[in-house]
């Protein structure tokens, strides 16, 4: 039906719906001839999508918005007709930092306010002793990881730009950097948190879903101009990734999905680690402690696949809060228009109604108001708003 498509991805579990759509044949059944191209950096995925070497890509949701706003690099309008995953990240800390936080904690260990306040005491003590600041690794300046880390620590009184050091690290380097002490902690997607725990060099402090109940993580991204020229292809992509997401969410299919994803040319790690991620059943400590959550990673369930403009607005609000973007109604409009529930609804022939009652569900601050970002941000003390 169409010419061959080239789609870029980064080897992470939240590319599951895309990889399964292709390798399980759902895309072919929609008449699509897709070649998946594994990439090594988000910058490469972004640039190859922007200049047309890729027709579509597994992309960080904030990068799709930044690209459409022209933040940090070339401005290319991108649209996201399908959301590949909600949540899925975790904060992993070194055993030493974990012990320091637990020694200071006043509250439950999975309560993000309690850990953030404990972190602020650890950070203050470090500063007093004249030691190097606590260093956190994250994947990209425009990433949910960056915003989740910042949101969490700022709620406990830690200024992410003043009190600690936040550095970008490619996901495959995270575990080694934690082991060598180059970073004390990181926020990254699966499978890297589990790999740090399995290697005995890290302890999962939080699932990102402790911080935000519902956060758009990766999207299926296409150039806006391309989507306008190829509406049928976009619809077929939505249908095939939707079917793959439904397939992955059925517990009886998890083992097969994990095997597909584990292939060396796909994610290339043990199927067992991938299945733990899909099941939301993670080993969080080298001592074998397990933690389960039905919110760890959502691939399709609870309407996860439907792009939600409120999510886009929240991500834009974080760009404003941390000085990456200026605040303007036009920019907010552009950001929201990146997420296209209309394309999703049309492709799947459904009514067009969001399925989630609370779009964000942050653990601190007032409920998010997409229509009053300035008012919403005023509730947060720490930030780096542009004048």
């Amino acid at each position: 039906m169409t010419g061959p498509l080239s789609i870029g991805f980064i080897p992470l579990v939240d590319a599951a719906a895309l990889i399964v759509a292709v390798d399980k044949g759902f895309a072919a059944e929609e008449g699509l001839d897709v070649t998946l191209v594994r990439e090594v950096s988000w910058s490469n995925v972004r640039d190859k999508l922007n200049i047309g070497l890729f027709d579509a890509a597994h992309l960080l949701a904030p990068v799709a918005i930044a690209s459409s706003l022209g933040l940090g690099h070339v401005k290319v309008p991108i649209v996201a007709p399908f959301n590949l995953g909600l949540n899925g990240n975790a904060i992993t800390v070194s055993p030493a930092l974990h012990a320091a936080i637990m020694a200071e904690i006043d509250g439950a260990r999975f309560d993000p306010m309690a850990t953030a306040q404990a972190l602020s005491r650890v950070v203050a003590a470090r500063r007093k002793s004249g030691a190097e600041p606590v260093t956190f690794g994250m994947t990209f300046p425009f990433s949910t990881h960056n915003y989740q880390l910042r949101f969490w620590m700022a709620a406990g009184g830690v200024d992410p730009d003043e009190d600690v050091r936040l550095v970008v690290l490619p996901p495959p380097y995270m575990v080694d950097s934690l082991a060598s002490g180059q970073v004390d902690a990181f926020c990254v997607g699966a499978p890297w948190n589990s790999i740090a725990v399995d290697r005995g060099v890290g302890q999962i402090l939080h699932f990102a879903s402790d911080i935000l109940v519902r956060a758009a993580e990766k999207v299926l991204a296409v150039r806006q101009s391309w989507s306008e020229k190829n509406p049928e292809v976009v619809a077929a992509l939505i249908r095939s990734t939707f079917r793959a997401a439904e397939f992955i969410e059925l517990p009886q299919n998890r083992a097969e999905a994990a095997r597909i994803l584990a292939q060396p040319e796909r994610i290339g790690v043990d199927a067992d680690v991938i299945q733990r991620t899909l099941d939301g059943r993670l080993k969080i400590s080298p001592d074998g402690t397990m933690r389960e959550s039905n919110r760890y990673l959502l691939v399709g369930r609870e309407g996860a696949g439907r792009p939600d403009p409120v999510q886009a607005a929240w991500l834009y609000a974080q760009m404003v809060r941390w000085g990456q973007a200026s605040i303007s109604p036009e920019a907010l409009g552009i950001a929201k228009a990146v997420f296209r529930p209309d394309l999703y609804d049309a492709a799947l022939g459904r009514g067009g109604k969001a399925e989630a009652p609370d779009a964000i569900g942050a653990f601190a601050g007032p409920p998010f108001d997409a229509d009053d970002i300035a008012g919403h941000l005023a509730a947060f003390k720490i930030g780096r708003r542009k004048p």
Partner: protein
């Protein structure tokens, strides 16, 4: 180069040969301040220590994302990157991605001084890929020759042929079957292995 000092250029590349090819090209063109970083640990700290005007990085390098944080204006970033190649010039972005290289220009360097660096970088990266292809071809030619020699040996022994006769037999069979001589030779090796 005029009166302006040569901009300081950092090459981030784990391939020492490619980095050397690029470095040599830049020096020949009069860019004297070229430094190669091959070690990715603490990359940002290394770059800050050198304080370059231009950073060139190969696209196979996952550390490229580390450079992207230099676009941010924050305390952690000393001199922000002004642009990624030339934002107004889609063709040069295309050419550099095709060649497999990316250029980051640190704030302050004049636009007209960037183009010759980028053009040179693209042509040297392309030259390197060509060199690699040639090397691959030479390697497989050598492999072919080994297979043909072994097949000739088998024919000489089994059919009592001279070396020349064995080669003529291989060649005529290849022509008749519209295959490469090396393919016929490979099937002789396989067959003789099976019939052992």
């Amino acid at each position: 180069m005029g009166a302006e000092p040569s901009p300081k250029i950092v090459i981030v590349d784990e391939s020492p040969i490619r980095a050397a090819i690029l470095e040599e090209g830049l020096r020949e063109a009069g860019f004297t301040g070229v430094v190669h970083i091959s070690e990715m640990q603490n990359l940002l700290a290394r770059i800050y220590a050198l304080d370059p005007d231009v950073i060139l990085i190969d696209l196979e390098n996952p550390s490229r994302d580390i450079l992207e944080q230099m676009f941010q204006v924050s305390r952690a970033v000393r001199r922000p990157i002004a642009m990624f190649v030339d934002q107004s010039d889609a063709a040069s972005i295309q050419a550099s991605v095709d060649a497999g290289v990316s250029a980051y220009i640190v704030d302050g360097l004049k636009k007209e001084r960037i183009k010759p660096i980028l053009d040179l970088c693209i042509s040297r990266f392309n030259a390197f890929s060509k060199l690699q292809d040639e090397l691959e071809r030479a390697k497989s030619a050598l492999e072919d020759r080994k297979v043909i020699d072994r097949a000739k040996g088998i024919l000489m022994k089994r059919k009592g042929l001279t070396e020349d006769e064995a080669y003529v037999l291989l060649r005529s069979t290849a022509m008749r079957e519209k295959k490469k001589i090396s393919e016929i030779a490979q099937s002789i090796l396989t067959a003789s292995e099976l019939l052992k």
